[in-house]
Structure formats: structure tokens, C-alpha cells
């Protein structure tokens, strides 16, 4: 297998992008990435999107995007794994380059979420339609049930849970592409409207439009294009039960653990080696459970550790320096790719005011559904 590098990145601002369609956003991010990597032609394209059909009435994104990036003719395909679609696209691009099939591969993700009214229904298609959604479950409802089981078992308090979005909003202040680059306080979280008890509005990642793209190439060719590149050192993917009720332990997301083990093994590193991580904080409870599954904290302790500052600058591991899904925004299909962009910027010392000092190893964790899929990448600065 060949070693693989990221040689360029591009993304739109995340937010309510009324002026931009799904193709406008992807074209902006893709052309920026191509320019940033200083490549003139790509060999293949993968685009992750969860539900472009329901959100934008547009399928067949591979061809559409190749066409609008001036790359007609290249192999191009859309990848879907719910909220992990972007991460899965990156992994397929990685495999494509690693295998020797193609050299210059564009991987991207996109979601246009603000054009539809009933977004709750679209997101719920990531859950089990016949056995969960039919019975009234929403996506926040699934994570609310994880939160209640977790709080009941470990005594996590509502106030500790609130520290996750408070931290991530604080990080987002320094991210010019973030949807909500402002701080929030405890009172605001606890007084925000109830979505699915015990989760309130400020526990939930927002509805976001956005696109993100990366250019991959064989590591030994990276220098031909740029001196700012990073190596993808490990990749791990796992599936989990589609329905939350089939998770043996409702306080865990076992696919995350499994994917992490695979990524750590491939990279030859352990959780203690990781300097920073971008994790899938679709809901406040998710960051807590994920931080435990990644091995950063013992089971049952991540809530307290995050509240004590262990997941911000100066702590054990900086989690979601970008602001995370909560404050940077969560354009579902783009999220997994945007996480690697943050890792790329950190590892090439281009993260500005949110730079993690001496960052050498970063981890990205992208998750679909209520833990039905998980994609993890471990990146190394060169």
C-alpha cells in the first residue's frame, strides 16, 4: 500500500448560505482545493452527501460535481453513510490512492440543508425507518435517550453536559468559517428551548449549508505540488447496529471504539499520542461518549474531564478546536471532510488564533446515525 498525503484543502463558509445551491457550494470548495493544492487535473472524485435527494432534489452528485469542477470524464461517485458520508468519501479516496489506482484524487462532502422545511424528517432517515422513526423517534430523541441512560448510570449532571457546547462555541470564536463564532454561557444552555428531554437547543448541532474538499496524492509525490502537506497515517472504519435499541450498552457507541482500534493499530499510535481531535459532537452527549470510546478518558469520566478543561488548550487533548459540529456547523455530508481540513490546518501551522501549539498528531472522528457507522483518520504533520 502506498502512503497518502493531503496536499490542499478548500471549503465554503458554514452557515445559512441562501445565495448558494448545492453545486455552487461544492464548486467553490472544490475549485479552492484544486487551486490550493496547485494541481491542474484530478484523476478521480468522491463526494459524500447524506441526502442530496431529499434536501436538494438532486442525486447523481459524482457526475454533477465533476462537470462543475471542469473535470468531465474522470471517475466520480457519490458516497453515503448518513452523517459519516464525508469521512467515508475520504476513506475511499485514501484507498484509491493507496492502492495505486489513481494519483490525484479529490474527495469532498456537501449538504444543502436550508432549502427544505421538514429537515427533522430527512435527518431521521439515518435511523431505522420501520422500527424507530415509525414510532415517533427523532434524531435528537435518540441521543437524548443515550444521554438519559448515561446520566442515570454515571451521575453526569445537566450542568456538566452543558460544558461541551460552551467549550466548542469558545473555540469557534477563532474560526472564520464557523456558523456560530460566538460564546455561550451556562444560563443560555440551560434556558434554551427543550428539543428532546434532557437535550436542549444549545446541546444540538445546527442546520447548516456547506461544502468541504481535499486533494489527496501519494506521499512521495506531495513535494511536487506543495511544501504544506500532511500524511494520513491511519484509517479505521466500523459499522454498528442501525437501531439504537440494538446497542447492547446504551451508554456506548461501540462502532467508534472498533474504528478507533483499527485506526490506532494502522497508525501504530495510542490515544496518549494524539495532540488534538475533531470529533462528531452532533449532540453534547455524543462528544462525551466518543471521547471515551477513543480512549482519551475512562468510561463514565469524560463529562467531568471536559468540564475541568481537559479537552481544551492546555488540557490532555484539544477536542474540536474548529468549534465542532455544534458551533462550526454541521452540513451533514461535508462534516467528515471539514474535520480533516481542520486537522490539515493545525498540522501545517495554518490554524491562526486557534492553533494547537506543537501539534504533530491529530485524529478525526466522523459518525453516522446513532453510532451505525464511524470513520476515523489519524493525520501526521510532516
Amino acid at each position: 500500500m502506498r502512503e497518502v498525503a493531503i496536499i490542499g484543502v478548500g471549503m465554503t463558509k458554514f452557515g445559512e448560505l441562501w445565495d448558494q445551491s448545492i453545486r455552487d457550494m461544492f464548486a467553490e470548495a472544490g475549485l479552492k482545493a484544486i487551486e490550493n493544492a496547485k494541481v491542474d487535473k484530478i484523476d478521480a472524485l468522491y463526494v459524500g452527501a447524506m441526502s442530496s435527494g431529499l434536501y436538494a432534489y438532486q442525486e447523481h452528485l459524482g457526475s454533477l460535481m465533476a462537470d462543475y469542477l471542469g473535470q468531465v470524464g474522470v471517475p466520480a461517485v457519490r458516497v453515503e453513510s448518513a452523517c459519516a458520508s464525508g469521512g467515508q468519501a475520504v476513506r475511499l479516496g485514501f484507498m484509491d490512492v493507496a492502492s495505486g489506482m489513481h494519483d490525484i484524487v479529490l474527495v469532498g462532502g456537501v449538504e444543502k440543508m436550508w432549502d427544505v422545511e421538514d429537515g427533522t424528517f430527512v435527518l431521521a432517515t439515518a435511523a431505522d425507518q420501520e422500527y424507530e422513526v415509525y414510532n415517533g423517534v427523532t434524531f435528537p430523541g435518540l441521543y437524548a435517550m443515550i444521554a438519559r441512560a448515561y446520566m442515570d448510570r454515571y451521575g453526569l449532571t445537566r450542568e456538566e453536559l452543558a460544558q461541551v457546547p460552551i467549550k466548542n462555541h469558545k473555540h469557534a470564536v477563532n474560526n472564520p468559517n464557523a456558523q456560530y463564532p460566538f460564546e455561550i454561557d451556562l444560563k443560555q444552555v440551560l434556558n434554551s428551548s427543550m428539543v428532546a428531554d434532557p437535550l436542549r437547543l444549545l446541546d444540538c448541532s445546527p442546520i447548516t449549508d456547506g461544502a468541504a474538499c481535499l486533494i489527496l496524492c501519494p506521499l512521495d509525490r506531495a513535494k511536487e505540488f506543495t511544501d504544506k502537506y500532511v500524511k494520513i497515517r491511519g484509517v479505521g472504519v466500523a459499522s454498528g447496529p442501525i437501531a439504537l435499541h440494538d446497542h447492547k450498552d446504551l451508554t456506548r457507541l461501540e462502532a467508534v471504539h472498533l474504528a478507533a482500534q483499527r485506526a490506532y493499530q494502522m497508525a501504530g499510535v495510542s490515544p496518549n499520542d494524539i495532540d488534538f481531535a475533531e470529533v462528531h459532537d452532533c449532540f453534547s452527549i455524543a462528544e462525551i461518549v466518543v471521547a471515551e470510546e477513543l480512549g482519551f478518558f475512562e468510561y463514565g469520566t469524560a463529562g467531568k474531564a471536559i468540564a475541568e478543561g481537559q479537552a481544551t488548550y492546555g488540557g490532555k487533548v484539544v477536542i474540536n478546536s474548529s468549534g465542532g459540529l455544534k458551533a462550526k456547523g454541521h452540513p451533514v455530508g461535508a462534516t467528515g471532510v471539514a474535520q480533516l481540513i481542520e486537522a490539515y490546518l493545525q498540522l501545517t501551522n495554518q490554524a491562526g488564533k486557534r492553533q494547537v501549539p506543537n501539534a504533530r498528531l491529530g485524529l478525526t472522528q466522523n459518525m453516522g446515525g446513532s453510532g451505525g457507522s464511524c470513520v476515523i483518520h489519524i493525520l501526521e504533520g510532516m
Partner: protein, 130 residues
């Protein structure tokens, strides 16, 4: 929205709680062809008695259009006495009586209506019995 074929296919589990018990001990209300972990194809057909306990729950305040008129409503993950895990809406129960471990009984209820010309969807809900 379900059309009538999609709806009819799901009647065995929704109306009669028809389930499957696998040699591993896994019990599934969702129709399966093999054990999800081992892939083994042997199983026994059983009918759930419709009793169990709440493992976790939530009270939903924001939902999709099809359930909007019901908010706020509770949904729970229930473990039946046979060991099947089932996600169900809670009905005929005060929110303050909801707790992890509470005993529940399944009841047959209307789930939703599909507008003026659609079909009426039925299925199971659960109520706290103690």
C-alpha cells in the same frame, strides 16, 4: 409516507408482536433472516407477550411534520420480558411516572394518519403499568 404495500408488509410485528429468537439469545422484533452478529440462520418464531421495562426514554418537543400534533410526547427503548429491544411511543402515562426500570405494557394504537387520502397507520405503543 407509506403506501399500502409498505404498510402491509410490517403488519406481523406491528399488530401481533411477531418476533424471532436466535440461539445466541438475541431476540428481534424486527424481521431478520440471520443473527446480526454471527450470521447464523436458525431461529425460533415467537410472539412477544407485550410486557417489559423501560431502559431509557426521552420527551420529544420538536419533531417531524407527521408527529407534530402529538408534541410533547415520550418515546422509550423497552426491553421486553423475552429480551427483545423495542423503540416505542409511550401513551396513557403521565411524564412524571416515566423512569428507567418502570414496567410497561404494549397497547395497540393509531400511530399516524397520512393526510386526507392516505391510510391510517396502526401499531404498538407502550404504557407504564406501575
Amino acid at each position: 409516507m407509506a403506501n399500502s404495500q409498505r404498510y402491509t408488509r410490517e403488519i406481523p410485528h406491528r399488530y401481533r408482536l411477531e418476533a424471532q429468537k436466535f440461539p445466541s439469545g438475541f431476540v428481534s422484533l424486527s424481521r431478520r433472516y440471520c443473527d446480526p452478529i454471527s450470521g447464523k440462520k436458525e431461529f425460533e418464531k415467537i410472539n412477544l407477550k407485550g410486557t417489559g421495562k423501560i431502559l431509557t426514554y426521552t420527551i420529544i418537543h420538536v419533531t417531524s411534520d407527521q408527529f407534530k400534533l402529538l408534541t410533547p410526547y415520550a418515546v422509550a427503548i423497552i426491553e421486553t420480558d423475552e429480551g427483545a429491544r423495542v423503540t416505542a411511543m409511550i401513551t396513557d402515562t403521565k411524564f412524571e411516572d416515566l423512569k428507567i426500570g418502570a414496567r410497561v405494557e404494549f397497547v395497540f394504537r393509531k400511530i399516524m394518519e397520512e393526510g386526507a387520502s392516505g391510510i391510517i397507520n396502526y401499531g404498538y405503543k407502550a404504557k407504564v403499568v406501575e
